[in-house]
């Protein structure tokens, strides 16, 4: 997929929307008798952001009009993007599972899978390194740093 200059304008529009929201929220906060009320700062930021957003939109449109054949802002293959999303999903799942499964099992599972995912195919070395690593980290943190990494229902 490619994102051309028109996409920049879209980002600009998005920022403008964000600025609007912040401005609205900020001005609905109570005013202080003296000094900056809670709303003052957000309003200021919203104004600045709106200006930047407008500049961005204008810049993007101008570039688009001027040179239709300009190199796109971003070219990303479908596959690559999905790999990124999949990675994100995995890590989120890992974080959600941590309190239930415990640090050691969850991390080992994640590590082994990801190492494979990143292209390292020697399975035995993979598993060995990751197991040793995870357990060492856990022990190090527990006894030396005195930080209890999450332990799940299975091992807690």
């Amino acid at each position: 997929m490619t994102f051309g200059k028109r996409f920049d304008a879209l980002t600009g529009a998005g920022l403008l929307g964000l600025a609007g929201y912040v401005y609205w929220e900020g001005s609905s906060m109570p005013q202080a008798a003296k000094g900056l009320g809670p709303g003052g700062y957000p309003v200021f930021i919203a104004v600045g952001m709106a200006i930047l957003a407008v500049i961005r939109i204008v810049q993007a449109l101008v570039r688009y009009v001027r040179d239709k054949n300009a190199a796109p802002t971003l070219t990303l293959s479908r596959g690559a993007f999905f790999r990124v999303l999949w990675f994100l999903a995995l890590v989120f799942a890992y974080l959600a599972l941590l309190p239930h499964a415990g640090f050691i099992p969850a991390s080992i599972a994640l590590l082994v899978y990801l190492t494979h995912f990143y292209g390292y195919r020697r399975l035995w070395a993979n598993v060995l390194v990751n197991v040793v690593f995870t357990i060492s980290i856990y022990l190090l943190f527990r006894h030396f740093f005195l930080v209890l990494l999450p332990t799940g229902g299975l091992f807690g």
Binding site: G4, D8, G35, P38, A53, R83, Y118, N126
Partner: protein
Amino acid sequence: MSLGYFLEGLISSFEPMTFLIMFLATVAGIVIGALPGLTGAMAIILSMPILARITPAQALLVLAAIFCGGMYGGSISAILISTPGGPSASATLLDGYPMAKQGRAGKAMGIAVFASFIGGIFSSFGLLLVAPLLARLALSFQAQDYFSLSIFGLTIMASAGGGALVNGLVAGWIGLLLSTVGVDGNMGMSRFTFGFPSLMSGVNLLPVLIGIFAMSQLLENAEGLLVAHQSLKQDLKDIWPSWLDMKRISLSLAVGCVVGIFIGIMPGAGGAIACFMAYDIARRLYGSRAKFGSGVIEGVAAPECANNACTGGDMVPLLTLGIPGDVQTAVMLGALMLIGVRPGPLLFVEQREAVYTLLAGMFVIQFLILFLGLAACRVSPRILAVPPGLLNPIILIFCVVGTFTLGNSLFDVKMALVFGFIGYLMRKFGYPGAPLVLGLILGPIAEDHLNRALLVTDNDWTTFVTRPISCFFLILSVLSIATALYSSYREAKLAGKTAAEPAGGRG
């Protein structure tokens, strides 16, 4: 500052036990500083049980060693894996990592060690010679002056991190926006917390830092199977800077030292701000002589020098006023109080022996860092030889664990992940991450001082120009923006004059 006391202090810092403790503490500082997610603050906490068992002089040395070592250590991971080991190494990766990608990691690290050493020596002198004077200077700053100073810091946002001016500003502004999340300082209202109690104290710096720099890199690496580029052959012979190198970076070093110690003595400002400021000021001063951002040694020297120069500065308000400049010095303060060393104006009198041992020891620590750093230079680039498939997930777990340890909270880690994704998108679309971090740091500082200035002067906005110091910084800010605009205008013109963009291609 009497020479006699200093020499006494120097001698006591070489006592075998003291020296050994100092050595170990420096190693610990460097190692923990290098690991992303683990901060010097944590190292200090770990050392607390040990601190209780040694003399106050030794305890002071331990704290200083961890602090200084940590400042240097962050550069190791910044250069090798584009992840700052701590906030104060955020600017080092801007030129350090490109150098690593070109196979010049050894040289980058050598420059980092050297610059850190110079910065550290400079700040040790500063601490020794002018501590009480510096403290008085810090006291003459009031809220208005701090505000203008932070405005000046914010103007650096635009150009920090390279990339188009507008992109940098947008990133910085998003950082500012993020800094408003949390409870406001004036009336205690929660802003933009959406009902998440963990957000009430604001968006934490560490998760954002880890996310924007580390996780986003990991995500980018996830795009394709990783092969060659990270197992690049690194040149490990050419580490120590040559005379020519030293001449080239002398301007960077000068900027780093001055900015570092200045920012350091300001209570409330620390290494993170110093490194960016030094980077940007050096960039402007060098102009076209050095292409900052492409992997030039000048770009590594400035921030590394600044963050170590900051250490001595940071200790000035800590020791003389008992006021910490950042999280690390705040923890140091706690540690000091726990062992009975009470910072304040009487410290130099009541605990003279301990303080002088510290002042002298600071110099010794810098040499230790030099020595250990060079050793690290030879050893640590080998980490790049580890297959990236194995290394990346391990880095991920380090980030997770480190972020978790900060506040015992998985929420922080999730936030880091979210920012990882945001950072990834930003990378892809050409928005630099550094300004966002800067905005996040400076935002609350600016607001806090602005608020107070207005409260004290009864909403009098002219006070910012009537106070000389404040006025000075505002003028600097305007100049800073003007020069940034001018140079970006000239760059655009230059690009227009050279061959037009290649026709064809999709899009």
